[in-house]
């Protein structure tokens, strides 16, 4: 089954959520001390493509992040990954079910 791409999810503080800069390299996942099963880059895609159900399905993971910023240290694109995770938590609190 394919998911129809829709408008990006509204993260409220749009300027703060900088998923567009992500270039899908995977450095973040490689350096995560928890080895979170869902990659930030994939989450970001879900947001950009308005895939709300896919984001909701990752609620556990999104809340298990330590916000340690280890990923941010290694991101060559300078994505504010942990800030994005916080915005995602906010969205889940508003829109999650």
């Amino acid at each position: 089954m394919s998911t129809l791409i829709a408008a990006p999810l509204d993260m409220t503080v749009r300027d703060g959520f900088d998923a567009e800069a992500c270039m899908n390299c995977g450095f973040c996942s490689a350096t995560c001390p928890l080895g979170v099963p869902i990659l930030p880059r994939r989450l970001f895609r879900y947001v950009l493509f308005g895939m709300d159900d896919a984001v909701r399905a990752e609620t556990e993971t999104i809340f298990s992040c330590l916000l340690c910023r280890s990923c941010e240290q290694s991101c060559p694109a300078g994505v504010h990954i942990t800030e994005n995770v916080r915005l995602l938590r906010g969205w889940l609190l508003r829109e999650g079910r």
Partner: protein
């Protein structure tokens, strides 16, 4: 000095055997080779050297000439492809005729091929060097053939590459015939609005170039015209220009071909092509260039666009990358975002090749509502059209291969470049065509604008997909190459050509068909007709020499006598 040397019967020859560091010396005993040839008739100097091509050895060779009154050299070293010109240069500086240098290859042909058998390699080297000495003994001084050239250039194709070449050629004082098939100059760029990378407007760029051309009386523009025939030899070609049934003949020194490309035309049904809401990149550019605000297509506002990359490129027979299209499509998406900042754009690509500074556009586009989805080479997106609705499905490698769907208002097929169908011109100029259908240069890096057809140069996108700036650069390169030849006024051609002994020739004409370059013709009056070979047309291939039943043709530098002496030398060469 050469006058004195030419008078002697037995020439004085020096033999230098190179060790090429260990490349030759580790396998071939160069000392033994020197011994094998040092007493041969004509040899007055024989020695080996660590590197014969080194500056110090070159100076020793020059000193030897002065001391020993040498007439020629035999240099036993690497392939003549590498150092013919090096050693001819040494000869010239020493006052020896450069065509009296024989290079014998004992590296590729002895040491490198027989690493397992040093004795055999050495014995083979002895024979080869002996043969070289025998050949050198018969070497005559030769002098480059000087042909006066015509200071005029034909530029075929009036796109940006051809126009820029014409302007540059006129600026160095050469006359130019700029020949364009269409009623107007300009090519593809003449139809474009803002272009990457600097936003230059294509129509304005062409307009400025037209003004520059107008300002130069040395450029004669022929529009609606093609080149239908070519004859003559290097530096002086005669071409026929045909325009609406009118045929003009002009003599030119060089020809620059800048006939550009065609855009790939998808088949009906290919990614939904044929639907009014599926367009090619050139069609999309026209929509953009005409739109002031948001784009409207098929009566509806376009709020979302999907691009499919690599259409017609990197697939099937067309294995090449069209190079310009990634950048042109990303640039087009920036133009679309300018017209309507809220438009959502999805780029379905295989590899994004916004090379060099074009990468900046790619980054910029992502900040302005462009999303990039990557599909696998063997898994292109599917387009289905159901009445009003267009649906694309794609496995996006950047979303872990998830199957995603899109329902855009417009689909843009990012179509590549294909070679122009130009059979008439290719036939008339005998242009070399590569496997991809584009015209072929001699070497993409070392001789990028020359073709195997002497005096015929290529520039712009007729050679391979190129951006506008790259096409202009290659137009300038072709102009520089043509000017380098023609500004001298005379061309120096290799004198190692075939000549006919008119006393021995009985005019049978057997040789005519053997020349692949059509350089032989029968001339003469009053019953005595003999073959004559145009020195400027002969490439020195030697194909005609064995066809003459009377042995009247000889190839300078490789005469029958020299070939026989070489064989005798090979057979006589002392082996250990």
């Amino acid at each position: 000095m050469s006058g004195r040397n030419e008078a002697r019967t037995e020439p004085r020859i020096a033999v230098y055997v190179c060790q090429c560091g260990g490349n030759i010396g580790d396998y071939v005993d160069t000392n033994q080779v020197v011994h094998a040839v040092k007493d041969l008739p004509g040899v007055v100097v024989a020695r080996h050297a660590m590197f014969t091509c080194s500056d110090s050895n070159q100076q020793e060779m020059i000193d030897d000439v002065a001391r020993e009154h040498l007439d020629g050299f035999v240099v036993a070293c690497c392939s003549p492809k590498l150092h013919t010109f090096t050693f001819r240069g040494v000869a010239e500086r020493a006052g020896v005729n450069p065509y009296r240098v024989a290079q014998v290859n004992i590296r590729e042909q002895c040491s490198w091929t027989h690493t397992d058998d040093p004795t055999g390699a050495t014995s083979k080297a002895m024979k080869l060097v002996t043969a070289g000495v025998e050949r050198a003994r018969l070497m005559k001084p030769l002098h480059p053939i000087e042909v006066p050239t015509t200071p005029r250039v034909a530029v075929v194709g009036g796109g940006v590459a051809g126009m820029r070449a014409a302007i540059a050629l006129a600026d160095v004082g050469l006359e130019v015939h700029l020949i364009e098939k269409e009623p107007e100059l300009g090519g593809h760029v003449g139809k474009l609005g803002a272009m990457y990378p600097h936003g230059t407007v294509g129509t304005e760029l062409v307009h400025r170039m037209l003004e520059e051309i107008d300002r130069r009386p040395g450029i004669e523009v022929h529009t609606g015209a093609v080149v239908s025939a070519k004859s003559g030899t290097f530096g002086n070609y005669r071409i026929a220009i045909e325009s609406v049934g009118l045929r003009t003949e002009v003599t030119v020194g060089q020809i620059v071909v800048a006939t550009g490309f065609d855009s790939y035309e998808p088949a009906t049904g290919e990614f939904g092509y044929g639907s009014p809401r599926v367009v090619t990149l050139p069609e999309f550019r026209r929509l953009l260039d005409e739109a002031e605000g948001p784009i409207v297509r098929d009566g509806r506002p376009v709020r979302s666009i999907a691009y499919i990359y690599c259409v017609g490129s990197r697939c099937g027979d067309r294995t090449y990358c069209s190079r310009y299209c990634c950048s042109a499509a990303v640039h087009a998406s920036l133009l679309a975002a300018e017209r309507d900042p809220s438009v959502r754009q999805y780029h379905l690509y295989r590899d994004l090749r916004t090379y060099g500074r074009n990468e900046v556009m790619f980054g910029e586009s992502r900040k302005r509502g462009s999303y990039y989805l990557r599909f696998a080479d063997d898994d292109p997106p599917l387009v289905s059209i159901d009445g009003e609705r267009i649906r694309l499905t794609v496995h996006d490698l950047l979303t872990a291969g998830a199957e995603l769907a899109l329902e855009p208002d417009l689909v843009v097929l990012v179509t590549g470049m294909v070679p122009r169908a130009n059979d008439e011109l290719i036939g008339a100029l005998k242009l070399p065509v590569g496997r991809d259908g584009f015209l072929n240069e001699i070497h993409p890096k070392l001789r990028p604008v020359e073709t195997v057809v002497d005096g015929v140069l290529i520039a712009g996108a007729c050679q391979a997909p190129k951006s506008s700036a790259e096409s202009v650069t290659s137009g300038l390169a072709a102009a520089a190459q043509a000017a380098a030849v023609l500004r001298r006024g005379v061309a120096s051609l290799d004198p190692q050509v075939a000549i006919v002994d008119s006393g021995a020739c009985d005019g049978c004409g057997e040789c005519i068909g053997s020349c692949p370059f059509g350089a032989i013709e029968m001339t003469g009056t009053g019953g005595t007709v003999v073959a004559t070979i145009a020195a400027a047309g002969c490439k020195g291939c030697g194909a005609c020499t064995p066809t003459c039943p009377r042995n009247a043709i000889d190839l300078q530098g490789y005469t029958d006598a020299q070939v026989r002496a070489t064989i005798a030398g090979l057979l006589a060469g002392r082996a250990t």
